[in-house]
């Protein structure tokens, strides 16, 4: 059930009406039923996968929590009787008891993800290296497996660390894992945050609902009016790389940057808006990412919950793990302070970016994409002192235009790396970027030739107006550090309603949907 399908709209309307008609204490149960229906729509057999993850994680979580609680109770009762060593030993013993459940559950669920998502990739590489002919297993990928697995494992780690108390109610936990708005493209919510509103009783709040509807409409606008309209251009340009080189590669970088942003943020807007109309608050996943002045800032603004997941559950634990600390010490002793300081950070960075690339897809282009991000991040870190000197020497770099220059630079740099996602082939991607410097054709992209890319003049006009609106909304968000919806809400119900209606009609009329358009799922659905 695509967000942009008529089925989803009907499903959402039905659920919404029921949600506010039934007694509030049953609202979360309705959401669970709705989530199950939503998930089963993609194929009832896939319920088995998410079911296994849900049950095993819930069970492991409750066991871990149970052991911890019993341990804590015993510890509190007998603390005075134990000396320091005994206390330490007792805590280690409790930790050891929980570790078994933790590792078993973690390995099982990451194993499921690895098998269904990466088996064919591994087979493909084995065949390539050893000239083998092992047949692909072609597992059907369960909807949102990367998202719900990461969400569940985040919960498990938090419980294991004692940061979160396990959810004792299996049905409530099942809702956390399968909550339908965020199952297919995130955000990857943390249990402690989402549970604050997920199970609560929510009254019909017109202000909140209007605000949610506005966000949903804006999401549809971005997806259907901008992203799906540009899709034809991206497809045309990427289908014939030998024909579209040089300046056209710059054009495809631009097109894809716009398409991906409108598609992914549009999907997240719908997700968060749907949550809001049900009274459920979700984390922001994007905060004006194209206004980032460097790559580090970019990754704190783009797909925020994914970045945070890797940082909290891989980067930090890895950096402070015993082997890494030993390595760091060894490096300091043998190669000096500068190297010792860096080695663990770099290794953790490499691991995180490799995993990030792999998470996006079982293909080398994603892995290389991740590693390129790693290289730029590290290079950026290394050049930090140089930048500081440069900025000190040139006071003009404090000006606003320099900020714009940095944003512009980061936009194109990230766009160039992202081209691996466009061509889905590593050599082709590098070759195509190379043609920017070797092949001309700049006149073509400013001529009528651009009308041969599957986009008409009217399409360009719609995309241009859409982009102006997206930029305007982003500027407001960037400057006031708050959503533009606040400004509309201040002007009252008529203003909010007018904005919603305008967006709805813009989507209905200018949206690229129906016969004649290639209906597409959200790009991030596939990750």
């Amino acid at each position: 059930m695509l967000f942009t399908s008529y089925e989803f709209i009907a499903f959402l309307c039905g659920l919404f009406i029921l949600y506010y008609l039934i007694p509030k204490k049953f609202q979360w149960i309705l959401l669970l039923v709705g989530s199950a229906v939503f998930y089963a729509w993609a194929g009832i057999r896939f319920l088995a996968y998410i079911g296994v993850t849900t049950v095993t994680t819930w069970y492991a979580g409750t066991r871990i929590s149970g052991i911890q609680e019993a341990g804590n109770a015993y510890y509190d009762a007998h603390k005075k009787e134990m000396d320091k060593e005994a206390r330490k030993a007792y805590k280690a013993d409790v930790k050891k008891k929980t570790r078994g459940w933790f590792l078993a559950c973690l390995l099982l669920n990451l194993g499921i993800l690895a098998v269904v998502k990466y088996t064919d990739f591994v087979i493909d590489n084995i065949n390539a290296i050893f000239h083998g002919e092992i047949s692909f297993l072609s597992f059907a990928l369960p909807m949102g497996i990367s998202f719900y697995t990461f969400k569940s494992m985040g919960y498990l780690i938090d419980v294991y660390r004692g940061k979160t108390k396990a959810q004792s109610n299996l049905a409530k936990f099942a809702l956390f894992v399968s909550f339908f708005p965020q199952i297919i493209q995130g955000p990857i919510s943390r249990y402690d945050k989402l549970s604050e509103t997920l199970y609560g009783e929510h009254a019909f709040d017109p202000v909140r609902i209007r605000s949610g509807l506005m966000r949903i409409a804006w999401g549809f606008f971005k997806k259907l009016v901008i992203a799906d309209r540009l899709l034809a251009g991206v497809k045309t340009l990427s289908a014939k790389p030998e024909e579209y080189q040089g300046a056209y590669v710059v054009l495809i970088i631009l097109f894809y940057a716009i398409e991906l942003y409108a598609d992914f943020t549009g999907g997240i807007d719908i997700t968060i808006g749907v949550g809001e109309i049900f009274g459920i608050k979700m984390e922001e996943n994007f905060i004006t990412p194209y206004f980032s002045k460097n790559i580090n800032e970019y990754w704190t603004r783009w797909h925020i919950t994914m970045g945070a997941w890797f940082k909290d559950y891989i980067f930090y634990p890895l950096s402070v793990s015993q082997p890494m600390l030993k390595l760091s010490k060894w490096s300091r002793d043998h190669m000096g302070k500068a190297v010792g300081k860096r080695v663990t950070v770099y290794i953790a960075n490499i691991v995180v970016w490799f995993a990030t690339g792999l998470w996006h897809g079982a293909a080398w282009n994603f892995i290389v994409w991740g590693m390129l991000n790693c290289v730029v991040t590290v290079a950026s870190y290394e050049m930090e002192p140089l930048y500081k000197k440069f900025h000190t020497a040139l006071p003009c770099t404090n000006r606003g235009w320099y900020d714009v220059f940095q944003m512009f630079r980061t936009f194109w740099l990230m766009g160039a790396i992202r081209i691996l996602d466009v061509y889905r082939n590593v050599p082709t991607s590098f070759k195509q970027v190379g043609t920017i410097f070797t092949t001309g054709g700049w006149g073509s992209i400013f001529s009528a030739d651009v009308l041969k890319l599957g986009l008409t003049g009217a399409d360009y006009l719609v995309v241009l107006i859409g982009c102006i609106l997206m930029i305007a909304v982003s500027i407001v968000r960037y400057r006031q550090k708050d959503d533009i919806r606040v400004n509309f809400e201040k002007r009252g119900v008529v203003c909010v309603s007018a904005v919603i209606l305008l967006l709805v009609f813009a989507v209905l009329i200018f949206g690229a949907y129906g016969v004649g358009y290639d209906a597409t799922q959200f790009i991030y659905n596939q990750f």
Binding site: A458, I509, Y513, G514, V515
Partner: protein, 365 residues
Amino acid sequence: MEKTSMKKRIIAIVAALAVFCAGFWFFQRLLTPKYINDIIEGRLIADYYDHAGGNDVIFIGDCECYENISPIKMWEEYGITSYIRGSAQQLIWQSYYLLEETLQYETPKAVVFNVLSMKYNEPQNEAYNRLTLDGMKWSSSKVASIKASMTEEESFLSYVFPLLRYHSRWSELTGEDWEYMFKGKRSFHQGYLMRVDVRPVTSYPSKRPLPDYQFGATAYEYLDKITALCKEKGVELILMKAPSISPVWYDEWEEQMVEYSQKNQLKYINFLDLIDEVGIDFNTDTYDNGLHLNLSGAEKMAVWFGKYLQEECGIADHRGEPETVAKWQEMTDFYHEMEADQYRELEEYGYLKSYGGRPVTEEGK
């Protein structure tokens, strides 16, 4: 206080919904094709509702119906009242549901079905579906026809709300869309689409062998349904193959139709075998190289068919009924006005500018 707040809330919701509905309706009217000067056959199906009732003969079928027979001429010659419920590439299940709907409005003495659509066993083309289905009034017949006709790319909802289908026309809007937003244009003559221009047959299409000549099960299923429906309503069903030389009508198809008509005791007329008897001259009686007849050909067909209907089916002459005469006189006047106007346009422009014709050069011929 609580009551006032609730009241205000309901008013706000109703007002927002009303604005939405009004806007939706407005844009739907604006963006739905008007078929005024181009693809004018897109208005054929809806045209029936202004003329429903009082017809002794109903023709159903594809373009071989609505371009090949002139009901006005049949009236003038024999006093037979008839209507053509034809549409472009009308599939057999669409014919069935159109007939089912028509029989809700009137019960004719005879129904003539053009059998060319027997060759289609599955939904074909969204654009043609629209030409048949959009114009139908909402009824269980329309719902069933949509469901039977939809191709994979289509959605039922887009038939309920055509804006969902035609929204992308915003970049093609012309003055015609505004002018005919709330009104139609009279263009047809009891379902007949008039063309007076001539483009003779220059060559006959070759009969390319087909892998399978057997008509499909679905096609037969709906032909059976048409037969049963006519029997149930006491209407005589006549099967017809119009005298169009293209698309090719195969001998193997002909055998199946002959066999079917004999088995079901139906009259079957293949006009391809009666070209000389009807008097059709493909040098003067077609406007598109033999695919369809022009006015001259359609009138010859009406003359032959009217005589047949009267003699073989006992269809009555209504020229003695003042009320019917008055109604048909008005239509006859309009028919001859258009005929004169088409000849005038043909002379002035060399093609039928306002009637769906195109300059010969535009077609590269």
